[in-house]
Assembly symmetry: none
Homo-oligomer: 220 residues x 4
DNA sequence: GATGAATGAGATTTCATTCAT
DNA sequence: AATGAATGAAATCTCATTCAT
């Protein structure tokens, strides 16, 4: 499989060690995500993670040092991947601000189905930050803020360009939009059976479009 | 069941026993809520709950039988209290549907500050239902559904009365509204510091009013 | 067995719980001493202690909370018992200071055989305080000091009464005497086979009597 | 054995390999001594030793095969060095037996300060032989015996020459002297703060001189 | 010779649960 | 009703050792 590459390498030894580490860590993180999604963080043991990844009971500690470090690493990895994707889409888009946000709402909710396990794992870790003395708070809170700030930036642009109502408080509005997304997804994760995702996306977009639009409405 | 005895009051000792039980259970449930809010369900031991309630290490098992039973009981208690309050407000209201929902949004978010500990405990238990094999799922999911159904009912009424856009899917819209509430609260619970609650309420209400309104808008 | 006593007790319930605790703790401490003497502190697991005491694996933690607490408690218990015995003998004695010390040397070394297991357990814990960052240091060091101070007091009395050379530094001399005892015992514990205890006692007493005596000697 | 090769120096690479091995082992043994003195044998991991020596986690096993082998090797090295020094001093001395012993007492105790870390490491390993089933017993016990035999030899010489009381049991007396040294040092290692070493040396020498001397004393 | 990835045994500790009082 | 002694399962973490590179 990688034989040809090895033949070309002058230091195949070093390369392979690095590869082994990277491969093992990837397998461990994937296994952790699967098991967190299935049973939650607390009910997943490090031994389970190691064995589910196809290795031994002790490998998680060997690579990550502690359970907390594993959780933190996984949370950051998912966040980064997710934020990178969202931001790249926003940057590439030629739409006005409202359509960028509406598009993001659709992407976010559609992505839920495609990456349900990852989403579930992320929400499991995110909600583990709710207790006041939660160890994960300092890890998850900054990410929340970053997501909100990204949305806020789009809103401010939209206000400059006129597509977003200038009367809106951008920070509070970003918070509402992120809240809407998080809450809709969380409900899906808790009660997937009774859920019409397409309709939920439609409805969420309507709320966002109307909530942001500067146009007059009879009632306000 | 015990009504006859109570009426006669011939055995005051029996009465006292009942009161003692009720009082102890109340104290235990309050202690559990406090500790769940502080450290989460898994990191709270039954001994902690008993001692924090002013009793002994073993009393939780004596009264509730198991940790799962305690959690379930607390979750149901908070839910019932909460749903009762919301529904009574909706029933008493003379407003049209949109204002009922907008009012509920305000009450819900304002109540957060007043009963933060209870809210935190509830969200801790609710989010414990996110893992696919979570034991709490069967407890929390029906409540989610009930809450959505309540909102859905208001929306259908509003559609009959004309205050809510008849083109809306009431189920999906209810889901969006409940999602918005849950998500906004969850963010508050994770990152309270960076949070302007009044602005969040204002923004949430705007989204709800505009999202529900039947009036034409330029963009759609 | 204790039935007759229970019949007389007005509060047999409370009494019995206390007895159970006391009995279990005694059994656990005895088992710990036996196993520490046999394998050392680090190689003795708490599970071993519980099972060897006739209870379960988890009981040590139930009663003492941690391994460190068990070790500390056992060390203090042995120390107290030992110091109490030594001091009571000194107080009861009518001998002059030199003979009190010489007698103590004999008692100490003879006691070694009679309570070898306890002595071995104590020396195991005492020597665990030698590493610079040893957790047991703060526990063992004060006891060493107390023992030396007791001897020092006897020496000062002897100097007042004339039986101990007034030129001696009482603190340094106490240190030497305690060192002699500790070192002779430690050798016995490390190499019991090649050991003539009676001769060692004889020799140690000679050193002490001559070392303390004020009489002139040709060489000095 | 390898002298021929070294002389020819035709294979400098071989020479370098040997040097590298010797250098690495020296570094590993030094690191082990430092860490044993700091935290004890059981709480020092082989990885710590390797890294503290400036190498990798796995090097101790590579060179010594097992932790037990490392400990044994270090114990023997320190012993040999120490015994060699003591014996060479005794051999070189022209003093009579009593002064040889008294000089050794001074050297031993003074050396403590100069080589405190080595001394601490040695006492850590020596006291690890106190538990009855200690793995280190067979390593440390013979050394104790050798030290005592050395002292015993000096005493027998002294008895022949008349400087040591012929009534003394040489073996028991050697045991007492070695015990005194070990015990005084051990106390220093456990409670260095409250310690006047100069006074302790003075006192120890007095005990030895008087204990060995054949001169008459009023009291005996 | 040297590194460090991987294993798996074992230790401490926590804790839900059972049961005697 | 209430206490808390006792059990034993399970989890995290450490670490000596083996082995591939």
């Amino acid at each position: 499989m990688t034989g040809g590459q090895e033949a070309n390498n002058t230091k195949p030894r070093r390369r392979t060690q690095q590869e082994r580490t990277a491969q093992a860590e990837r397998a461990l993180l994937d296994a952790a995500a699967t098991l967190f999604a299935r049973r939650g963080v607390e009910r997943t043991s490090l031994a389970d993670v190691g064995v589910h990844a196809g290795y031994s009971r002790g490998l998680v500690n060997h690579h990550f040092g502690s359970k907390a470090a594993l959780v933190e690493r996984l949370a950051r990895d998912i966040q980064e991947e997710f934020v990178r994707e969202i931001i790249s889409r926003i940057d590439e888009s030629d739409d006005d601000a409202v359509e960028i946000i509406a598009g993001m709402v659709g992407d976010y909710l559609n992505g839920l189905v495609e990456h349900e396990e990852t989403a579930r794992a992320f929400f499991v870790m995110w909600s583990a930050a709710i207790p006041r003395e939660a160890a994960l708070r300092p890890v998850m809170a900054p990410d929340d803020a970053r997501f909100r700030l990204g949305v806020e930036g789009v809103l401010r642009n939209g206000q400059k360009q006129g597509s977003v109502d200038p009367a809106l408080d951008p920070a509070a509005t970003a918070l509402t939009i992120v809240g809407l997304l998080r809450g809709v997804v969380a409900q899906y994760l808790v009660t997937p059976a009774t859920y019409d995702l397409a309709a939920a996306i439609e409805s969420s977009r309507r709320f966002v479009r109307r909530g942001l639009s500067p146009e007059r409405q009879g009632r306000e």
